[in-house]
């Protein structure tokens, strides 16, 4: 066994074991190292790395597209390369390879639309030539113009809507962003966004399992993005249960959007909850209390977004109903963080 270390562009280093005669890329993939590759046959040059210490050579008989000068300078193609000693390589990408690296973009405000007694929908369009890729559920930080303070919001829109992005924002008495949105914001004003951030995102590998979404208030935003992403995925759709709640009926929002999702997605069930004065068809209580026996199967995957107390209660309740704790993903979503 040889020990091989990859030094990433972001300063992170990670090591793994390579058997003698084993190709370094094969070992890296097996060890779930972040590595970029494509052809695995020494041609496409995607897996290029620079040998910084140790001895590593192209497997005898394997071809590679490296020029002799490149080999002399230490360049190797990991897919056709064997380690003859412990060695380390520099790679040109970061340890987040394959993930979306956070960066700053500029966006123009399209609309600020009041959608409930204390919530607005903010629609923006990214500036020409700027782009933002994100996973459904991740969040961005938006700088409050003039004040320089940052607030975190998840898009309720999906990746294919970019350059348009939509956010649901709770209006707080005298909140920095709230004041900006309700008093200052107008079409074509420029906002600075940074992101994406967060490990609360839709798990692609679990997309066929039954889904439960529990959302409190504007915690609905990332959930909408997840539901729409699942909708856009071809093939069999999983059963989905959304439990969404606010304090009172006039604080609720996006109910028409949810109706539309139900029209488009036969496997989506929604429970709309209010703590007080429920209207016809609404659940009286919080979104956790709307969960019941039979909602959960052993492979259910759950996404929770809202105040910490709701997340704690929902987690307890889901486990009680039979959910695997490893399948419960959550994001605390307090209005001003």
């Amino acid at each position: 066994m040889r020990n091989v270390t990859l030094n990433y562009a972001d300063g992170v280093s990670r090591s793994f074991e390579v058997a003698s005669g084993e190709l370094i890329l094969d070992a890296a993939i097996a060890a779930e190292m972040p590595v970029l590759y494509q052809c695995q046959s020494g041609s496409c040059s995607t897996c290029t790395a620079k040998l910084s210490s140790g001895d590593a050579q192209t497997r005898a008989g394997a071809s590679s597209t490296l020029l002799a000068s490149e080999v002399a300078a230490g360049t190797r193609l990991l897919c056709v390369c064997e380690a003859n000693s412990d060695c380390s390589f520099d790679v040109a990408y970061t340890s987040e390879a394959g993930a979306n690296v956070a960066h700053e973009v500029h966006a123009f405000i399209d609309t600020v639309e009041k959608i409930a007694s204390n919530a607005v929908r903010l629609t923006v369009e990214l500036a020409e030539g700027e782009w933002m890729e994100f996973r459904p559920g991740q969040f961005m930080q938006i700088e409050v113009p003039g004040l320089g303070v940052l607030r975190s919001y998840s898009p309720s829109s999906v990746g294919t809507d970019v350059p348009k992005m939509t956010f649901l924002i709770r209006i707080l008495p005298d909140g920095a962003m709230s004041n900006f949105l309700s008093q200052v914001a107008g079409p074509d004003q420029v906002l600075k966004l940074t992101g994406p951030y967060g490990s609360f995102f839709l798990r692609e590998e679990k997309k066929r399992a039954p889904h439960i979404f529990v959302a409190g208030g504007t915690g609905l935003a990332p959930i909408l993005s997840m539901i729409d992403t699942l909708r856009q995925t071809g093939g069999r759709k999983p059963p989905m249960l959304l439990s969404f709640g606010c304090a009172t009926p006039d604080a609720l929002f996006c109910l028409e959007d949810l109706e539309l999702r139900k029209q488009w997605l036969p496997t989506l069930e929604t429970r709309i909850c209010v703590d007080r004065d429920p209207l016809d068809g609404m659940h009286h209580g919080n979104p956790v209390s709307a969960l019941r026996e039979g909602d959960v199967t052993p492979d259910t995957v759950a996404y929770l977004c809202g105040p910490q107390v709701m997340i704690d209660a929902a987690t307890r309740r889901l486990i009680e109903l039979g959910a695997d704790p490893a399948n419960i993903h959550s994001e605390q979503f307090t209005p001003s963080n």
Partner: protein, 401 residues
Amino acid sequence: ISEERTNSSKVQSQYQPYKDAAWGFINHWYPALFSNELPEDHVEGIQICGIPIVLRRVDGKIYALKDQCVHRGVRLSEKPTCFNKETISCWYHGFTFDLDSGVLSTIVANPEDKLIGTTGITTYPVREVAGMIFVFVREDDFPDTDVPPLSDDLPFRFPENSERFPHPLWPAAPSILDENAVALGMHRTGFGNWRIACENGFDNAHILVHKDNTIVHALDWVLPLGILPTSDDCITTVEDDKGPKGLMQWLFTEKWAPVLENDKLGLKVEGLKGRYYRTSVVLPGVLMVENWPEEHVVQYEWYVPITDDTHEYWEVLVRVCPTEEDRKKYQYRFDRVYKSLCLHGFNDCDLYAREAMQNFYADGTGWDDEQLVATDVSPITWRKLASRWNRGIAKPGRGVA
């Protein structure tokens, strides 16, 4: 491991400049016409790398200028109008350009206009050798003093490279620059991008498409199923300070193994008359096939970009013919054998294959979706070399068809 990590599109590819060169490499020498396509006092219009070019021959000398009037952009070649030997005039409003400098020297109906002498059209250096006219296709501001010799954009020469690239199996390949060289051939438009066409030229893995060609069977040639690289130095890149930049493939040496069998498919090649050849390619995309289609003859090919989805495909056979009789014999053999069986026949299959690849690459997705293998060491090496040594990436054509 997540799916995204297998997607190489997120890293800047080592040959990104090549991927950007849909309209070709600019500031290079390209063939424009055969000499006999431009007789004395004729005017012809062509297009290379998105640039319209008009050629005129006066007293034997050839001039090449941008074929787009500075006034309102019509092509001068669309209705050739020349009032003397020093100029070419636009047929529309009579803007008249100096053949040698491109300067606006008069306007037919406006001889005193202040614009005269202050503007003009780009001129392109011209060389005529062995029956072919070459043009140096350049950006408008590329200085005359930087124009390299034509030989920098032509294949490696022999015997001067015989020591560097020995070839015991055949005589030293002739060159179009040799004394008494005669270039016979043809050109036609290929409906696909020039890079797709070019890569096919020196691709050692596509012999399958030629398996049923008449010339192979008429002459009892033995072609292997393919030729596999066996060593790291199967290709030598040439990046000398002076001279052409390109790559030489060590075909029919121990660095490449001919594949004669595929057990799984029950395929086996048998026979005696091995057909030895060697391919090399130099910038801006010139193929040389030594010892092809027979001894003492060399085949050149160019894939001259016209637009991003068309190229002019040039197939040229060169032989040194010191005497008039040699010349006649060569011409006769070209007309009777080479033209129909090689330039058509054999190479028609290549043109077909190149055009068949066009859809895959035309929308840009092919460059990401292709899955290359060991034998593709040839195109990959070429892409990297071309990315490194080209003299400029042509911009999309402006105001042209």
